[in-house]
Assembly symmetry: C2
Amino acid sequence: MAKGLLIVLSGPSGVGKGTVCSALRQRVPELIYSVSATTRVPRFGEEHGVNYFFKSREQFLNMIEQDQLLEYAQYVDNYYGTPRDFVEETLNSGRDIILEIEVQGALKVKEKFPDGVFVFLLPPSLDELKDRIQGRGTENQATIDHRLSVAVDEINLLEYYDYAVVNDQIDLACTRIESIIVAEHCKVRK
Amino acid sequence: MAKGLLIVLSGPSGVGKGTVCSALRQRVPELIYSVSATTRVPRFGEEHGVNYFFKSREQFLNMIEQDQLLEYAQYVDNYYGTPRDFVEETLNSGRDIILEIEVQGALKVKEKFPDGVFVFLLPPSLDELKDRIQGRGTENQATIDHRLSVAVDEINLLEYYDYAVVNDQIDLACTRIESIIVAEHCKVRK
């Protein structure tokens, strides 16, 4: 049986990765979603194994040591990572799996899965991205400026990706990603 | 302005290239269709510049000499070829153009346009292809056997193509080709 495809959806913070990924899962229910592991406490309504695999710090550090994570990162005081087993089992069963992940993490996944399909979600423009980052309304100007400068650095990593999808409208972005998945299944592997 | 894409649709004789290409043109009217040049006489209802550019033998040989054809071939007593100008003008204007062409001709086009998108149309199975070739009902057994063996040789050239699309249903084949076009427009050019 042919292996499934690993689709990695990434892009700068604020570009709408989460929204596009949720819409895509609605439209393509057979696409499996990679669930991250984290040490942070569950928020109201979050379920273990659905939103995240909730782990203790000790469990997480153990997963790192056993090379059970495709990538991981620390934000504030918590760890986040992608469990390797679930991805490999899904691919071996012939099903496609999608990872929604930060730009740096995606590049780490690429080292381990160079045959993955790496999709970079772009904002329609930098002004638009600025509006979206500001629109969250929870951060001061210095933080916003910092986040925007990080985003610009991340966009410069686009060259390491296979596809660039502009997130001008969620529906259009989903259609493009669905087309990429169909096309990749038609690709002649050499 | 970004250049258009050159889509080359090929595959063994009997696979249904013409039918799929016509259906695709109905579904994607903005896709430009490359019109071939030929020395054969027009059939009833065929229009110059629509079905073919009808040329005299002398005009055709002159086009060959002036390198005005991306590829050409002789079948029975007539020449058939792809005029280069029309393809280049369409691409430079930013529009996509599709060539529906025999397997050998497609490989010649690839020498001149390595960045083209080469799509190989496959029969669902060899038995199915045999049925389709026989189904025309106009040829004797030796001719049918010969055509089938040529088809098998052509399918072995699949590795030189970018995509393989199974023509199990015309609608599905069209959807796959449309997806390939959308995906190719999202590709990060390196």
